[in-house]
Amino acid sequence: MSVRRKGPRATAVKVATYVLLGTVAIIVLFPFVVAVSTSLKRNTDIFTYPPSLVPRTERTITDPERDLESATVYVLPGRDGEYALADNDIPIAEFRRIDDPTVVIARPPGDGTETDRTTLVDGDEETIYLLDVDGEQVEVYRARLTVGGLFVPITGDGESVVELVNLATPDRTFGPRFENFSEVVTEKNLGRSLTNTVLVTIAVVVGQIVTSVLGGYAFARIDFKGRDQLFLLYLGSVMIPFVVLIIPLFQLMLQLGWTDNLVALIIPFVFTAYGTFLMRQFFLGIPKEIEEAALIDGASRATILWKVMVPLARPAIATLATFGFLYAWNSFFWPLVIINSGNPDNGLLTLTLATLGGRSSTDTNLVFAGAVLAMTPPILVFLFAQRYFVENSASSGLK
């Protein structure tokens, strides 16, 4: 135990530390927050300005008295109170004043009295109408015919208004859209890819643990000729970058007929020099006497390995499993090379996500939903496994 300094200076240092850590944490967490938020948004909600981290949905109202059913609530420009969109297909004539064409007046198409005069607007001849605006006859021309919405006031006691829908602002409230996830899984083939990835990952992790435990134990404890030379050779293979292996590995897969097959994602990665090394080092650290005691207790090699060594090696196995998991789960380049036919049945999460998020992607919300689905398992695994990294229970109590 060290003596901690106390006093205002120590407090200041502590505060500064927390502020710094907090800032870094926020910076690091922000992309995750954006991803999660986007994955819950409606596609229309993503590119709104100002941007919002909160997924929103348009508020609706159901009011049988006003004959409203799931009507969206809007705020209209220049008017107080909230309106519900009761009907969306009201024809509207858009009139502009002759003396000031910037003033737009929306009316039902039948409004206004047609005159026999015309005016030139941008080289086009337009008929002049007389329109009653606040009791005054105004000369206007009809700029276009369109459809608008019938807005019924739900607060205050204004009148129903016909207005262009795109001039009205829907009133948005918090509303995550969880359907993004089911949609991306069912419609974008992510479900099959997820299954494949889980399958491949489990096979790789289990395979790596089995081969590493057996190999590591043999290298650590079983005396055979050339053991240490073999181990050096084995360890040397860690130094070869994977890109160097891709072409020979591809040719091998070709000869075995394993291209475009999930086996090609499993078998080559089940044997890991790194894992063997990790397990060997861990086994070397377990006192020999424990094994000797088990031998005297009558245990066979297999019993010793299974009942004594493996339980003791749990932290190392957890480490190995975590690394193996992250590697297999996130692997992209090799699957891209070997699962080459575009056969959606053999797709992996990484491949499907890459396709989904490609250039022509429009469903940004679905891309992010897929990304969130893809990153959740690694995060969970890491949270679960980290206690093994910290915990050192196996080595305490040995001596």
């Binding site: 006497e289 000797e292 031998l295 005297i296 207790d297 003791l312 749990r314 196996a394 305490s396």
Partner: protein, 389 residues
């Protein structure tokens, strides 16, 4: 009937010296045999060969008249307690003790009963469901013992089981082990480097050095009639003082002289070591245990058995005082090996420790007169270390 027999058992490591050289040792049924010696003497190797953890290079090893040279450890019906206990850290005390029974696929109810019996015998009942890391050193040690006794083996093997315990606990466990062995009546082979443990625990003690068995005898016999210079120097604490001396015989009376001192030997010495009579004019090694000294006034001896020394250090132990002094003669070595464990210390003369009665107050630098009980002394040949009996 002997429970364990070593016949010419030899262990040689690859390109190395013999760790155990032609060991002949009979251990009787129910005997508590202690193997003792300095580190590297081969005692642990002998034990590990008995356990089946080391291959036997030559000779024959029998347990219960059955040759076990090539039998795996699990088939030898032995149990072993290791120096660091070697408990399975991930198993509770109950699982640790019961592991051998589980491996042997013993009936669960019977196994449970035996584990609980063993735990009760060792006072571990309340700790049965704890992990080893939650136990103290002494408790772990007892779990290791429990793991051994639960199998009721033919032979217990213990490899320095007490050396990781603190001094007080070690004394306690020492008597516990003695009582346990007496109660169970199981043959015990116990390895230690601590000669106090060897002396207090063993029915018989086998002293080893450099892979060679030096002497096997009951503790008191080892102490009183050591078979050679090494045993004499190794057994006893503080160790026997060994002084290179010249023998002269005048009118049938034997004198030994070293440095400036000349001592007349009491007739008892010559009776026990008649070989002295043939050594007139030669050098012998004169061995005096610390208790063979006394302050001159305490016992009635002649002036020719008293020497004056300067006290280098006086350690008051309560009942006695250990007086350290030095004789100006070259220190004794065995086969060129110094007896002083602290080899780098400047060797200047032969250090001597005398044990005198605790009533005396002795100060550093003081000159005192020591009387020698020469009738109890030991004498060895300086060339081969044999006693001059």
């Amino acid at each position: 009937m002997s429970a364990v027999t070593f016949s010419q058992v030899t262990k040689r490591y690859k390109d190395g010296p013999k760790a155990v050289d032609a060991l002949d040792l009979d251990i009787a049924d129910g005997e508590f045999m202690v193997l003792v010696g300095p580190s590297g003497c081969g005692k642990s190797t002998a034990l590990r060969m008995l356990a089946g953890l080391e291959e036997i290079t030559g000779g024959e090893l029998r347990i219960d008249e059955q040759v076990v040279n090539d039998l795996p450890p699990g088939d030898r019906d032995i149990a072993m307690v290791f120096q660091n206990y070697a408990l399975y850290p991930h198993m509770t005390v109950r699982e640790n003790i019961g592991f051998a029974l589980e491996v042997a696929k013993m009936d669960k109810t019977e196994a449970r009963g035996r584990v609980e019996n063993a735990a009760e015998m060792l006072g571990l009942t309340e700790y049965l469901d704890r992990l080893p890391k939650a136990l103290s050193g002494g408790q772990r040690q007892r779990v290791a013992m429990g793991r051994a006794i639960v199998r009721s083996p033919k032979v217990f093997l213990m490899d320095e089981p007490l050396s990781n315990l603190d001094a007080k606990l070690r004394v306690q466990m020492r008597s516990d082990i003695i009582q346990l062995q007496a109660r169970l009546g199981t043959t015990m082979v116990y390895v230690t480097h601590d000669q106090v443990e060897a002396m207090t625990m063993g029915h018989r003690v086998a002293v080893m050095r450099n892979g060679i068995l030096q002497q096997v005898a009951p503790p008191q016999e080892l102490y009183l009639t050591p078979a050679n210079l090494f045993v004499a120097s190794f057994i006893g604490s503080p160790a026997m003082n060994l002084i290179t001396s010249d023998v002269t015989i005048e009118d049938g009376t034997v004198f030994v002289s070293f440095a400036e001192h000349r001592i007349r030997l009491a007739p008892g010495a010559v009776e026990r070591y008649p070989g002295l009579l043939q050594r007139d004019g030669t050098q012998v090694i004169f061995g005096m245990r610390p208790e063979h000294f006394a302050l001159a006034g305490d016992i009635d001896v002649g002036d020719d058995q008293i020497i004056g020394v300067e006290v280098e250090l006086a350690e008051a132990m309560g009942a006695e005082v250990h007086v350290h002094t030095r004789f100006d003669v070259p220190p004794v070595s065995i086969d060129g090996e110094s007896l002083d464990p602290d080899e780098d210390a400047p060797v200047d003369g032969t250090p001597i420790i005398a044990r005198i009665d605790g009533v005396h107050i002795v100060a550093m630098g003081e000159h005192i007169r020591l009387a020698l009980k020469t009738h109890l002394a030991h004498f060895f040949d300086p060339t081969d270390g044999r006693p001059l009996r």
